[in-house]
Symmetry: C2
Subunit: 396 residues, 2 copies
């Protein structure tokens, strides 16, 4: 099962994955999901937002226990972020079958579309649409770097963009959602545990910093006549690290676009995207305000017009304590409970449905990279843990 | 003549030009050149390196007086950098015709290919090849951002890449080369002169700085576990400005490429291109060494592997004093003589042929930008000056 998925959308150069939403690689991953569902005799359906579902039992009965994750990736992402949760879900169902467990509640596996937001710049589009946290109007305005809109991209992949929007009836039929995910830090490695449970997701967001200067000849323009936005950008990158360090938060510039981007031309525009996260809202606000302040101040010195746009934002998510405690009990009660800085579909769903997350140890902490890895025995421990949770919640 | 050339390769968004070597826009510019030559009954030919020539008189007679410049542009370049020299050359020949001047030496206009190096990263490819300052082997290895090699690009444009290489016979037939160019600084504006003469071209070059770090999740990786190359890059950008300011030189990072360039991924690789120039070799060496030192030091702090590659270099060019003095005399002797930081085909040719340059005032100093401009009366003064020089050098 895992080996069939591995080659899809993998770059032969970097070894990383480029499974961006609605691309050929994503379509191939989706075909894999459907084949896994059908080969087990599970009921297969695609919801109005393009999320895929595999059902054991009656989808309309209500109080369903749902597990799953996503199959798309960031640019040059790793093999585990997302797919580990989906593959483990199918494996856990196989384990329940082997245990001859008798489901008393409907069970389902879901593959949420466009979790990473690598193509259209907004994360968790599939779950946000379903949960009513993204309007279909806003979703239809999303455009990728090549100018292709989300509706066109869905259509090209063979999906109908006409029906996208909130899906409250579907969510109302879910009694619990449990997402298994590879940890994207080293907490479990440091405590020596294979499995952990999520306590909360840090508030996080993306801000676009536009530094508008003046294009000019790099070989003839006196330094004092320049309005070079690269200087303001560079200073802001360093300010972001400083503000994050002082606040115990995270702040990263990982994406840049430059115009005209010529070796012998001073840039006219440098656009940098800030990703920032913190344990609480107040700290995050303070960090981002500090970075903005630094950008404006340096911009004023360099003659640069600085504009900051918040492109997305997700408030703090505290997972429901009742379900979290039940999951912990089902795992024997000695499982570490830890917060994460990463957004997940589980974070989106938690506003509408009781939700919990399991993490599988990441020995290096590396994620969003071809070097992302997890030990086979930890992955198998994850499958057992997920099967234990599903059995405890949904089987007699 | 000018108005026919203006729309070619112009972006409707930025208003800037994208006439990159061997693209459709370049082919259109070349068709314009050929039509201008033929409409005046000039002999038209393309040399082995794809440079275009328009001849008045016998090309093989020797001791020719050649003028001209280039028609290609940087990304979003201005209308004057290059084309002003070519258009003024045709206009100056028209002026000689109107004056009924009788040429005693062959006259020619040249359009050198790929002066800006916007596509393949190396400037003055056409003149470098002709002058033997770039081997055909090296030229054939040049590849653009889409992976298209120079030979393929030439072929796609309808030119034969098989014969590229040094052209000493052709250069030996040239007695003097005079290039007219819009000034790319504000020296003439500050002194209040419409026309100037070049004394020298600063030594200049391009260095690629590769900062190799480790891709990771921007939302979960602790600051102390990161190897973020964006920080080292940012620090080096600021160091470049500092070193240049202290030395009275120029240093610019105007082009960047980032991998994987995702908002929520710490970069694995940031590649920045440094353009640096100074009045003399020793100063330039000191500036670049200072920037490299800063990059290595910061890289060591950030856990970044820094590699610096010199991609191109042009030593100082001191234009021949005899021709320069003669040109000054032909212009009445009160013309300012000024150095420039910009590379030109004239700088390449000066190693093989007596060469001079005329500059036309740039009222804002802005160049390599859609905002580049020159006053119509200054452009007409440039044509008159060039006609005076050609008449003085080549007519009885």
């Amino acid at each position: 099962m895992w080996t069939e998925l591995l080659p899809i959308g993998r770059s032969s150069v970097s070894g990383g994955y480029r499974r961006h939403a609605w691309t050929g690689a994503d379509v191939d991953c989706r075909a894999w999901f459907e084949a896994q569902a059908r080969s087990r005799g599970l009921g297969f359906e695609v919801d109005r937002n393009g999320n895929q579902w595999a059902w054991l039992g009656d989808p309309t009965a209500g109080d369903a226990v749902v597990t799953g994750s996503h199959l798309d990736s960031v640019p040059d992402g790793g093999a585990f972020d997302g797919p580990l949760g989906v593959v483990s879900s199918f494996a856990a169902l196989d384990e329940l079958h082997a245990r001859k467990a008798q489901p008393t509640r409907p069970l389902a596996i879901v593959n949420f579309g466009d979790e990473e937001g690598a193509r259209f710049g907004l994360a968790c589009v599939g779950s946000r649409l379903a949960a009513g946290q993204l309007t279909p109007e806003k979703a239809r305005e999303l455009v990728d770097a090549d100018g292709v809109g989300l509706p066109q991209a869905m259509e090209n992949a063979g999906y109908d963009p006409g029906a996208i929007g909130p899906d409250p009836e579907r969510l109302a039929r879910i009694g619990a959602f449990v997402e298994l995910h590879v940890e994207q830090g080293r907490s479990l490695d440091l405590t020596g545990d294979a499995i952990g449970i999520a306590s909360s997701i840090w508030p996080h967001g993306r801000w676009r910093f536009d530094f508008h200067g003046e294009a000019n000849h790099a070989g003839t323009t006196r330094l004092e006549d320049r309005r070079d936005p690269m200087l303001s950008y560079a200073d802001t990158v360093l300010a972001a690290r400083r503000e994050a360090r002082l606040a115990g938060a995270l702040a990263t510039f990982g994406k840049v676009s430059v115009e005209p981007n010529g070796v012998n031309a001073i840039a006219s525009l440098v656009r940098g995207w800030l990703d920032s996260r913190a344990a609480d809202q107040e700290t995050l606000d303070r960090v981002v305000a500090g970075i903005e302040q630094a950008a404006y101040e340096r911009g004023a010195r360099d003659g640069i017009d600085v504009r900051v746009t918040r492109e997305s934002f997700t408030p703090v998510v505290e997972f429901e304590h009742a379900l979290r405690d039940e999951v912990a009990k089902l795992l024997g009660g000695v499982v570490p409970v830890l917060p994460t800085g990463a957004g997940h579909d589980a974070g989106i769903l938690s506003a509408s449905v009781p939700t919990a997350m399991l993490f599988v140890r990441n020995p290096t902490g590396v994620s969003h990279s071809p070097a992302e890895t997890a030990a086979e025995e930890d992955c198998l421990a994850g499958v057992t843990a997920l099967a234990d949770v599903l059995e405890g919640l949904a089987c007699s």
